[in-house]
Subunit: 473 residues, 2 copies
């Protein structure tokens, strides 16, 4: 079996903890692992990492790799040049898989789902594999535990003989209203549509060809270039022209090869801050409290603090999420409107919708501590044995003070080593490089000085991570 993990996401629903370049799947607020880490852990025994593919966009890939630390064997990455909905993403993944493995069953998973009972989930995948092998398009259904209006539903049809839990599909249902959801809960033949699918590579590509021929044509054009020097160009050219449509609407609602597996695996999509109540245990006052929080008499509230003090007094049904550069305070019943905040921020000068103050890079991370007129202060962390690119800035000079570890500094023609409590100066216009030659993390404080301090003032001459015309670092 092959695994395809859809790992996109706009980072709006859990803002300010999630950001455009740091979406929900990377958050660790649901348990010890992030959701994408948990997704890989769950399938690890069933699908080896060299048969696992993560479909994501390039701006999120660096953060995902930082968490998953993939090896040469896997998991592998498939890059969507832009979001084109699930039909295109699944079609692209199936195309890559066909090129490499010809055929076989692929499981399509989301990187940001929560599953309370991983063992039940694994059994459902096993059952799904055998049905998929017979040519079915299999969807996992989750037994409803409440009249949820935020999920789509599947009504099951006739049970499969000798396949307990598997049925044909009567119909797919869009998100219902409250009354209808309550009926579904009583009837016991409606299941939450988890968006977790199993099918053969050949089946899904044939169905796409039948129901969405223009998508099939585009994928074929990409397939011809996979493994050639023109692959990236073809992907960048063709992918944005593919129809943007969900796999449910494009194929599942039209196909007659459907099967659904009814499970009771404690599945949740966790679509907003208020949905945390469904997956995290609350204290005796109904609160979820994390971080440096002082609580005086609040109840049924969700408070996510970090290092800063967050004091809450007499709150009821309120969500508070505090980060270094932004704080959200939201009525629980309005949690769906957090995306409006992100929309509002996009229209502004700042970066609070897009990235955290701490930005992960292949070599480590940096945190903007303060920006003032003509100066900017960063804390820079360089991983052991890693180094930034050989680079130059036209409009700023940089003062570096080492606070932990050892730095090897290239500055113009000189190469030298400085330790904690030593500093150096990189003048404007001089080629330089920062490297951690040691086995401990290197931490420096950088004071940038100049009248333009944008991240785009960088010329790269050499880079270990292939970013000679890319982003900072």
């Amino acid at each position: 079996m092959y695994g395809v993990i859809l790992a996109g996401g706009s980072g709006t629903r859990f803002w300010p903890l999630s950001r455009e370049e740091y979406p929900k799947q990377l958050l660790k607020i649901f348990g010890n692992q992030s959701l994408i880490q948990a997704t890989l852990s769950r399938i690890a025994d069933l699908i080896p990492s060299n048969q696992t593919y993560i479909a994501t966009n390039p701006s999120q890939a660096e953060q995902i790799k930082f968490q998953l630390k993939p090896s040469r064997e896997g998991p592998h990455f498939i890059y969507e040049p832009m979001g084109r909905n699930t039909a295109a993403a699944i079609g692209l993944a199936a195309t890559y898989l066909r090129k490499r493995f010809q055929d076989g069953v692929m499981a399509v998973l989301s990187a940001d789902h929560f599953i309370r009972e991983p063992q039940v989930f694994i059994e459902a995948l096993r059952l799904g594999e055998s049905l998929a092998d017979e040519g079915y398009l299999v969807t996992l259904g989750a037994k409803p535990t409440r009249p949820e209006t935020g999920y789509g539903y599947i009504q099951k049809g006739k049970p499969f003989p000798n396949q307990p839990g598997a049925s044909t599909v009567q119909r797919f249902v869009e998100k219902p209203n409250r009354e209808t959801a309550e009926q579904y809960l009583k009837r016991e033949d409606h299941f939450w549509n988890t968006g977790i699918f199993l099918w053969k590579i050949s089946t899904i590509l044939a169905e796409i060809k039948q129901f969405v021929p223009e998508l099939s044509e585009g994928l074929k054009e990409i397939e011809q270039k996979i493994g050639t020097a023109e692959e990236a160009e073809a992907l960048a050219r063709v992918y944005p022209t593919l129809p943007s449509i969900s796999i449910d609407y494009a194929v599942l609602e039209k196909s007659d090869r459907l099967a659904v597996i009814s499970t009771d695996m404690g599945w949740e999509d966790v679509g907003s801050w208020s949905a945390l109540d469904e997956v995290i245990e609350r204290d005796e006052n109904g609160n979820i409290l994390t971080g440096n929080v002082v609580n005086i008499g609040s109840s049924n509230s969700i408070i996510y603090g970090q290092k800063r003090v967050v004091a809450v007094v007499g709150l009821k049904d309120i969500v508070v999420a505090d980060t270094e550069d932004a704080t959200l305070i939201c009525s629980k019943d309005k949690a769906q409107e957090v995306k409006k905040v992100v929309e509002a921020l996009k229209g502004r000068n700042g970066d609070e919708h897009r990235v955290h103050r701490t930005v992960i890079r292949a070599w480590g991370s940096y945190t903007v501590l303060e920006e003032g007129r003509d100066y900017k202060i960063k804390r820079i962390l360089v991983n052991p044995r890693a180094r930034l690119s050989l680079q130059m800035h036209h409009k700023r000079s940089e003062h570096w003070v080492v606070v932990a570890g050892t730095a090897r500094v290239t500055c113009g023609e000189s190469v030298y080593t400085i330790q904690a409590n030593q500093s150096t100066f990189v003048p404007m216009g001089v080629k330089h490089r920062l490297e951690n030659p040691g086995d401990e993390p290197l931490q420096i404080i950088e004071v940038q000085s100049g009248n333009y301090l944008g991240e785009d003032d960088i010329v790269r001459y050499q880079d270990d991570y292939g970013r000679v015309e890319a982003k900072k670092g």
Copy 2:
């Protein structure tokens, strides 16, 4: 007429904007001026600054002086070594005034009151002066505009002939319950007790002698030392032993020389976050919004942001106050409980109850940008022509990067000048001094390095502000 401004305050009620060393009187959230600035502005035409005395404690004095910029002429400062309630503070001020001026009418004002109609207030002070001159203890009463349960009341007695607005006092009343407060509002003979008083120096000292003889004895002991080398010692020794009692309870409730002036001056004590609604105009949704706020559908809420993004969604009757190191989110009807937050913080390691991240000093200010293991980063602002003490640290070295202005640096035997984008290093154990020789503010970024970074690791050799054994700077 002499002015005595009581400027103490614990800084709890408007936390996190107010702090122990930065109480409510210094906040500018009520208008263009801080409350203490507005207090001085209001009386400026009536009482010259050389006849104005500010009674405060030493830890708050630096911040008050930073705002008021007193000259040699005044206003003058009287330092209470510790808070001993209003009877002791007023008695001490009267004692200083008697020593300098023998007798005369003194007006006792609070630094943190809000008065909407300053002209009405001034007229009341004028009337009060003439009554005080006749030997009365005069209290200003404010006409109630709502059934307020947070203020004490005065019931007026018989009107004074030919003194419209002035009456004898029938009785003082403690904070009433809601029902009683509603009766008071209807009866029109009950006024809010503003705690603004006028009396002759000789009258109040005689009353204190009659009703609180042990306070009178203590004040006499201090009076004998005023102007001598032993003044500070006597103050520090005697003041803490004075009875801690309010002037209302100690004198006013017992005296038979009382008068009250009924005013309609728009007076408010603004005793908590929720009381802001009484003094600041709200927008069409009943909100007060300040700072970098994104609001999606909130109403009747008070949101104080600063530079960081504060996003609020669907809030009702909530107070949010965001500062660099702490955020408060409080149900409006629980605003009185903010002091419990401050109590909780006092039991912790942090400084968030005591000071802001930006601390005002006589020479300028500093802001802690980050504290990490073995390092601390500060932004330091030095006023034009000002300098820090000549000092030394046993356990840390300091890297200074100038980001604006010019610094004259003393480091060991060397004295040199550095400009924006230049840096220098002060090794551990070396005497040093930072000075701004220019006419523009000097701004430096300081990276401290060492395994102990407390503000108390400082040895001062010379200081322009007389702090050779005192605090940082």
